[in-house]
């Protein structure tokens, strides 16, 4: 395995990645796991471990939508999710030499995303259960330290149309601790199984079930008057 300090030898983006990216932008979202792609995750990972950065670019293209969504659901801020998603992929590149092929790649990647997001939330001192809503967490607030903050402009009527229920949900999610927030989103939104959640957040299956219990209980109370 190459020295991680000099693994980025191939700078170009492969043509296959560009084509998939165009399909992604046209709304043909991937289902993940590599089923509809010619090259499997395992093969791409092996190439990355040999320093093939074009292969890593393919992995980024394949999973950036899921990574971005997961972090966005946790942070509720486009610019922060953008930055943190990049941080997660960069950490993944650095950690790839240690990745063992028998593990599921996207579960491993989600673990990195979870850790990056968890550290960030902890630093922002998001309140845990029972605390008041943290009204500094707004979708339109841009973290001053954000390296880049590209965000597609949202039309005012679209923003108003989608915001009421979304805001209620985000307010409720924000009142969960990062630990409870992660498991409920991975279960209800990402559709992970218990063991996949446990691998992603670094706890036991029993702890996952217990956290789900409490997260659901709290959300039911907070959202009891909320209609879909």
């Amino acid at each position: 395995m190459n020295n991680p300090k000099s693994r980025a030898s191939n700078y170009s983006t492969s043509q296959s990645a560009r084509e998939r990216a165009k399909a992604e932008e046209a709304g043909q979202a991937s289902t993940g796991g590599g089923e509809e792609y010619e090259i499997s995750d395992a093969e791409l990972v092996a190439r990355c471990q040999d320093g093939d950065m074009a292969a890593f670019d393919d992995l980024v293209t394949r999973y950036r939508g899921k990574v971005y969504a997961m972090i966005l659901n946790m942070t509720h801020n486009d610019a922060d999710a953008w930055d943190l998603a990049q941080d997660a992929f960069i950490k993944a590149w650095k950690a790839l030499p240690k990745f063992e092929a028998r593990s599921n790649f996207y579960t491993w990647l989600y673990r990195i995303c979870h850790n990056v997001t968890y550290d960030w939330l902890r630093k922002k001192k998001i309140r845990s259960e029972g605390a008041e809503f943290d009204d500094t967490i707004r979708r339109d607030f841009i973290e001053p330290a954000a390296r880049t903050a590209p965000a597609e402009a949202i039309q005012p009527d679209e923003d108003a149309e989608r915001s009421e229920l979304r805001i209620r949900l985000e307010e409720a999610i924000d009142q969960l601790s990062p630990e409870h927030r992660a498991v409920i989103l991975l279960k209800e939104v990402e559709g992970f199984k218990y063991n996949e959640i446990a691998d992603s957040v670094g706890c036991s299956v029993g702890t996952v079930m217990s956290r789900l219990f409490y997260a659901r209980k709290k959300l039911q109370e907070l959202l009891k008057d909320t209609a879909p």
Binding site: T13, T61, A69, Q86, P150, E188, V189, Y194, G206, L223
Partner: protein, 211 residues
């Protein structure tokens, strides 16, 4: 509720129990009969607004930034001197002298080059100096009152009292890693511009440019 009961309720909500286990559970806890429906309602609410996958804004730029940062970090790791944690940029030091006349400033620049770093105590310290003119010597000490490192250069030619101090002004400053440059232009609009840049090792280069 006991931890095991919490797990069983969670498993029931997620459809992980068989019919016999569900029957046993509800017989023991009839108050739970609406719990599954309520949990599913919350799950449906979350899924209605929060997606498992979202289109990343500016996706090509997103990938480009990741590649760029990886290459920059690997290049920085490969060129960083062993044992040093940081090197301060030279340009902030240069810009403090933008009010000094051009001639004296160039003399100062070519007469003294310093490598700076941040000490464990937090303040900038000069770790090495170089004076190409053997008649010029450099000494330094940290001033607690000024909270600054004071550099003394002995042996430079005196600046005539009649010489204007503010001879140059900053025209532009380019902080990019690959093309750092500070451009000074004469305040009176006459004469040559000075372009101060640094190579990738951080060593200064002085170039003049005709207007």
């Amino acid at each position: 509720m006991k931890p095991n009961e919490e797990e069983m309720l969670t498993q029931w909500i997620d459809g992980e129990l068989d019919d016999a286990e569900v029957a046993e559970l509800l017989e023991a806890h009839p108050e739970w009969k609406d719990a599954k429906a309520e949990a599913q309602r919350v799950g449906n609410l979350l899924r209605s607004e929060m997606k498992a996958e979202e289109a990343v804004p500016y996706p090509d730029f997103f990938n480009h930034q990741i590649r760029k940062r990886i290459l920059e970090e690997e290049e920085e790791a490969a060129t960083e001197p062993a044992g040093w944690k940081e090197q301060a940029a030279l340009f902030p030091w240069f810009t403090r002298f933008r009010l000094i006349s051009g001639t004296a400033f160039v003399a100062l620049l070519v007469g003294f080059v310093a490598m700076v770093a941040t000490s464990p105590t937090g303040h900038t310290e000069i770790v090495s100096t170089y004076t190409p003119n053997p008649g010029v010597t450099a000494s330094m000490e940290y001033s607690d009152s000024a909270k600054a490192m004071v550099i003394r250069l002995d042996g430079l030619d005196e600046i005539p009292a009649t010489q204007e101090v503010a001879g140059f002004r900053v025209k532009s400053y380019q902080p990019d890693i690959d093309a750092r440059a500070l451009t000074l232009e004469p305040a009176d609009g006459a004469g040559q511009m000075l372009v101060l840049s640094a190579d990738r090792a951080g060593l200064p280069e002085v170039r003049t440019a005709s207007r």
